[in-house]
Chain length 392, copies 2
């Protein structure tokens, strides 16, 4: 039986565009082969967005991009080959399976990758590795079994290319953002005194999966619900307690469409929020809007962050730490950060999660955030839920 | 304001028991300090089960266990300190925050760990590291900044201790298993021809969060729904398609209670399953039951796996690959595997996910699995959903 291709989020031309950018960078670095192993980068260059494959030693996988072949070669455990054929744009002959959980100790998927490089005549050329996603022993294996290759560290090389999205990627992020917005609006309906946090979380999560406008979520979304007395941190989980009058709830949601996430944060108050919380929220909205007003091609990440910091200071509060990051496949992209000192220059179709979450004191915090893209002349905010302190 | 302690899943004595086992192992390895950085092991020795902290360079965290202190010291980014104080059994003074996203390139949380080891007088002693969870550059930093220490690789040392659960841990896994069972039963209600996969997934997910018997889920569960035509792999996601007459659905669910997961797999058929699928399911149930009948203290993982393989062969099918793994905190524990050749000897209160998922041909598969624990004399199956091929 031949595995069919599943519904593709992008046409082949989109992947070839991404690969052309990667190959150009490979030329700059004078390498003939690049082994891409970080899951976000593998997804970016192939469409393999499933999250079920942890980087355990028996599930080693990655793409070998070469200058002389149009498509990369996907090397992964044999029993995952059908999933790779179904999910990716790759021709079936570009997917190579190796026997998994081999009885031969010390032999693993990296040996299959190295064997491939030898067979492809690349073992004595420049070979790029994402060293930041390889363990020391794996790096050692590449060096030992490719003694004539010139190993070049290509950590984050593909990540930086991912920062500038295509219009097709932005369109998918807009779909994800609409679902995220629906999650926030549903949270405002279901969070009530006496409702157990876990039950409200079930409703919100279900909304993120059902989606909106006929488009469903296509993967497990990001969802953090940090309610009183756990408003001191952003990544807490819902609990078994019931909401009460006076509860404050900081929520972060990110629906998933074909691996792309658009994230939003909002603060909710059951009953009237304190004046102090209102003032902090106003300050953070001012910080968020000052940042958005600074976004344009040519501005730096640092300028955006500092505009936010100054606006918050004018409101009598202080926030000088990270206020955002590049966003796209798998949520946070580990490349450009909205933080003082990050001199990344903004370009059209870069996308960010701009997040103002201030923990002024351990028990006093407030969230507001948006996902935006850089346009030709300024900014487009993709998330659209009301930018307010929700009073329930 | 002082952060209060959140509801603790375990009493202090449980953590001290776990730490005593770790310290005994440290004695065997002649080390005075052990830096525990893999998230599952950190959770095991502290109660820090939140999943929101990825091992990005600005979120480095871990526990330093020493022979001379009762409690470990938790070192993490300063803004995560309140979460650590709230979630863990540790005294607040055992939690140390370092300034995050420092402007000083090359300085990160590992420097805070190394500084702590110097200050505690441990820099010229035996220091254990989980090398498999540290990048090459991080290992290099430990070696460079601790030139007089004897660095000892303690990869998987804590993981192996985790394989034997306490009765308290088993009790929590039972609660998780009951929720997982409820998820399977709800799946059997909501999967119908014409229902969109994403909508059914929303219902199943909501059940896993709401929980059962007054106990909710406490974190995002594991959920894979691999429906026709995606039954060739186990870790596919639900899609935007609607279920149809004749659809086969392979489901894997694992509800979460305080970080502990109990997983189950079942196959569903909309309409009458083919005779071939019935026969494969019968063979796999025979394989599963043969494995369960082999489980007792003193048996090896390999014996259990081979009992399963032989039973399946008697039914005219073949399956000789991995059929399970140690299970507990965060699901799969990377230690004991139910596979031919794994000579791990079973002990009371080891817990496993025993999984029979056979991909006979690329489009022909069937799932059945249970979570079990080893008892004093045999086996207790924690998951209780009917062990059948569900016909909807």
């Amino acid at each position: 039986m031949t595995i069919s291709k599943g519904p593709q989020a992008f046409p082949r031309s989109e992947y070839l565009r991404r690969l052309a950018a990667v190959k150009s960078e490979m030329g700059n670095r004078e390498i003939d082969a690049l082994f891409v192993s970080s899951p976000g980068n593998v997804a970016y260059l192939s469409g393999f967005t499933t999250k079920g494959y942890s980087p355990a030693s028996y599930l080693i996988q990655g793409l070998v991009v070469t200058l002389h072949e149009e498509e990369p070669t996907f090397i992964l455990a044999r029993h995952h080959v059908p999933a790779a054929v179904y999910l990716t744009f790759l021709k079936p002959e570009s997917v190579i399976g190796y026997p998994s959980l081999t009885a031969n100790p010390g032999v693993d998927g990296f040996d299959a990758v190295i064997d491939f490089l030898h067979e492809a005549g690349l073992a004595n050329r420049g070979v790029g590795l994402e060293l930041d996603s390889l363990r020391a022993q794996d790096q050692q294996k590449f060096k030992a079994r490719l003694p004539k290759a010139r190993i070049v560290d290509c950590a984050k090389a593909v990540d930086w290319i991912r920062t500038v999205k295509s219009d097709l990627e932005i369109a998918i992020m807009r779909e994800a953002a609409a679902i995220t917005d629906a999650g926030i609006m549903h949270a405002a309906e279901v969070i009530r005194p006496g409702v157990r946090e876990a039950d409200a979380a079930a409703e919100i999560m279900a909304t993120l999966l059902r989606g909106t406008n006929g488009k469903s979520g296509t993967g497990i979304p990001l969802m953090y619900v940090s309610a009183s007395p756990r408003t001191f941190a952003g990544h807490m989980s819902f609990s078994e307690d019931a909401y009460r009058d006076g509860s404050q709830i900081n929520i972060e949601l990110g629906a998933v469409r074909y691996g792309y996430i658009a994230t939003i944060m909002r603060t909710f108050s059951i009953g009237k929020p304190s004046d102090r919380l209102r003032r902090l929220h106003e300050a953070q909205v001012a910080g968020l809007e000052a940042a958005l007003n600074t976004v344009r091609p040519g501005a730096t990440c640092s300028e955006v962050a500092n505009a936010s910091h100054r606006a918050i200071e004018k409101h009598g509060f202080k926030k000088d730490t990270l206020c955002g990051h590049s966003e796209g496949l798998n949520g946070l992209e580990p490349s450009a950060y909205l933080v003082d000192g990050d001199m990344t220059v903004l370009k059209p179709n870069m996308a960010f999660h701009l997040l103002l979450c201030n923990f002024l004191e351990e028990d006093f915090s407030c969230f507001v955030s948006e996902t935006f893209r850089v346009t030709e002349s300024g900014v487009e905010v993709l998330t659209r839920a009301p930018r307010k302190l929700f009073e329930l």
